[in-house]
């Protein structure tokens, strides 16, 4: 069998049926081969629909199918572990001509994709309250404190109201009240077994990104601050602590564990 020809004909709907196939009764092999072509595309379109439910609602089921089917053929999976399939689907959406009239679609898709990452991210024990209390007893050492964040955390800054759009599609707010063209930033993280999406200030995005990159607390606060907006590290840290998104153990810069 020429598996290459079979594979190519699965990907390209216009390719002829691969050679060497037969049917017991002389019925058309092309129609039988089409079952495989269909299984391949439909199963992956369904996988994308499961991963991007809000995008699907925004564009409608029929258009989503067109969009996803085009993506599946252009960017088929490279791994049998499909949980992460669709990493560049948001970029594909952004570049899809028929979707260009709705510029926020790609960022909504980005938010949905980081939710998938958060859902399956590694587990981590929260920072014990005692360790946190001990750190707070030495305020002079706080700037050198290196905090470890929960592996599920992601931040996303968008020129569109991605958090409100997402929330409206969970039935949390009315879609009519959402102005999609208002910039919003999202904190995405797993709390217990559910992934939560929270609107945060843009400075908090820079702060959390700096912590994720390994910056100590003092550096992260400096990177978060901007001339145009004040930054309240206490509020952001309070959010992270309240959701148990600091992972243990915390270490002092240059110190030994």
């Amino acid at each position: 069998m020429n598996a290459g020809a079979f594979a190519a004909a699965l990907l390209d709907r216009t390719a002829p049926c691969p050679p060497g196939l037969r049917s017991w009764n002389g019925s058309a092999v092309a129609q039988r081969f089409a079952v495989y072509r269909n299984n391949f595309a439909v199963s992956l379109v369904e996988a994308l629909a499961d991963s991007f439910p809000v995008l699907r609602e925004l564009v409608g089921a029929a258009f989503f199918r067109t969009l996803a089917d085009a993506y599946v053929r252009r960017v088929p999976p490279r791994s049998p572990a499909l949980a992460w399939y669709g990493a560049d689907f948001p970029d594909f959406v952004a570049a899809f001509p028929a979707a260009s009239g709705v510029p926020y679609l790609a960022d909504v898709a980005r938010l949905e994709y980081v939710r998938i990452l958060a859902f399956h991210a590694a587990d981590a024990a929260p920072l014990p309250a005692a360790a946190l209390a001990a750190a707070l007893r030495k305020p002079e050492q706080l700037p050198a404190l290196r905090l470890q964040l929960h592996p599920s955390i992601a931040v996303l800054a968008s020129p569109f109201a991605v958090v409100s759009l997402w929330a409206a599609h969970q039935g949390l707010t009315a879609i009519a009240a959402v102005d999609p063209f208002r910039p919003e930033c999202a904190l995405v993280a797993r709390c217990g077994d559910s992934v939560e999406v929270t609107a945060i200030p843009s400075a908090a995005v820079r702060f959390i990104a700096a912590l994720q990159a390994g910056a100590v607390l003092g550096e992260a606060v400096a990177q978060a601050a901007s001339p145009s907006a004040s930054f309240d590290p206490a509020a952001c840290l309070g959010l992270l602590i309240g959701r148990q998104l600091l992972a243990g153990p915390a270490g002092q810069q240059g110190g030994s564990p």
């Binding site: 598996a3 594979a7 699965l10 196939l21 037969r22 019925s27 791994s79 949980a83 981590a124």
Partner: protein, 297 residues
């Protein structure tokens, strides 16, 4: 801080085979209900690839369910019939999953699903010729060596045949089992679907399979279409209840194999959990009727 595997489950042995009872495919939609109701089932089966993720709810639930039930791990992405070498990274992920959950059985398909680096997420057909036989046997041996266990190989549902075929599917499977020592996962629905789609006598097909090697049975539902001449073309959809004809064939198979762990597969259009349980129990009743009285717990 740590995503290490659990160090062991007290009271949990490492059974060498699945209990001869009915099992269900474990769906995330049913995690909570399974944990809350602890249904009377012999085992649960997972698709290996769904659990190849670092952490999160899938593992949280599976760990708790595994503590109380035997487990079967069913791979859908190894591409054992693939033209190229097996994906070693995928085998590593499988090995880690099996180490973590210590399933009683691991199975894969007589099919291919990847080519040229692309994963097609479907079980694609193979020509039953000498070259394919040698390649499949080599891959099965490699898998068994890498995973340190015997695997079960599942007979496929197919929609086309190959002009180059040199032997029947049953002969091919018997030869793989003979050469590699692997077991057979007898998918009764696939047998029915494939025999219908290719005008084969399903009873003769069943008898030609290496039934002594059957380590697990699958039951599922199909969708019915027609080929260009109007003959039935059955699609292995996993989206409907098990057909009456497949239940009959299951009875016929059990008479030949004796009681074997039987999975009710349902992956699409999931009904409420109690309905699935009821369907699985139709298999459970048949199995119990064939178990020696002393073996009934």
């Amino acid at each position: 801080m740590s995503d290490a595997a659990p160090s062991g489950h007290p009271g949990r042995g490492a059974p060498v085979s699945l209990p001869a009872a009915a099992g269900l495919g474990l769906k995330p939609e049913h995690f909570r209900e399974v944990l809350a109701t602890r249904p009377a089932l012999g085992f649960f089966e997972i698709h290996a690839e769904n659990y190849m993720v670092p952490g999160g709810p899938f593992h949280h639930h599976l760990e708790r369910i595994r503590a109380d039930y035997a487990l079967s791990v069913h791979g859908v992405g190894l591409s054992i019939g693939g033209a190229g070498p097996l994906d070693e990274a995928h085998l590593d992920r499988l090995a880690a999953l099996l180490d973590r959950y210590e399933p009683a059985a691991f199975s894969e398909h007589l099919a291919w699903s990847s080519h040229g680096g692309v994963f097609f997420n479907d079980l694609l057909p193979l020509p039953y010729d000498a070259a394919t036989l040698a390649r499949v046997c080599g891959h099965v041996e490699h898998v068994q060596e890498r995973l340190g266990r015997r695997m079960l190989l599942e007979n496929p549902a197919t929609y086309v045949e190959f002009a180059a075929a040199e032997m029947s599917e049953a002969e091919f499977l018997a030869e793989v089992v003979r050469r590699t020592g692997c077991g057979l996962l007898l998918d009764v629905n696939n047998a029915y679907v494939a025999c219908t789609n290719h005008g084969r006598d399903v009873h003769a097909y069943l008898c030609a399979l290496p039934l002594a090697a059957v380590g697990e049975i699958h039951l599922a539902g199909f969708a019915c279409e027609a080929d260009s001449l109007g003959a039935p073309l059955l699609i292995d959809s996993h989206g409907a209840p098990v057909a009456d004809a497949v239940w009959s064939l299951y009875d016929e198979a059990l008479a030949l194999t004796g009681p074997v762990a039987t999975l009710l597969e349902r992956d699409r259009d999931l009904p409420p959990f109690p309905l699935l349980l009821e369907e699985a129990q139709r298999a459970g009743v048949r199995l119990a009727a064939r178990l020696p009285m002393t073996a009934v717990a």
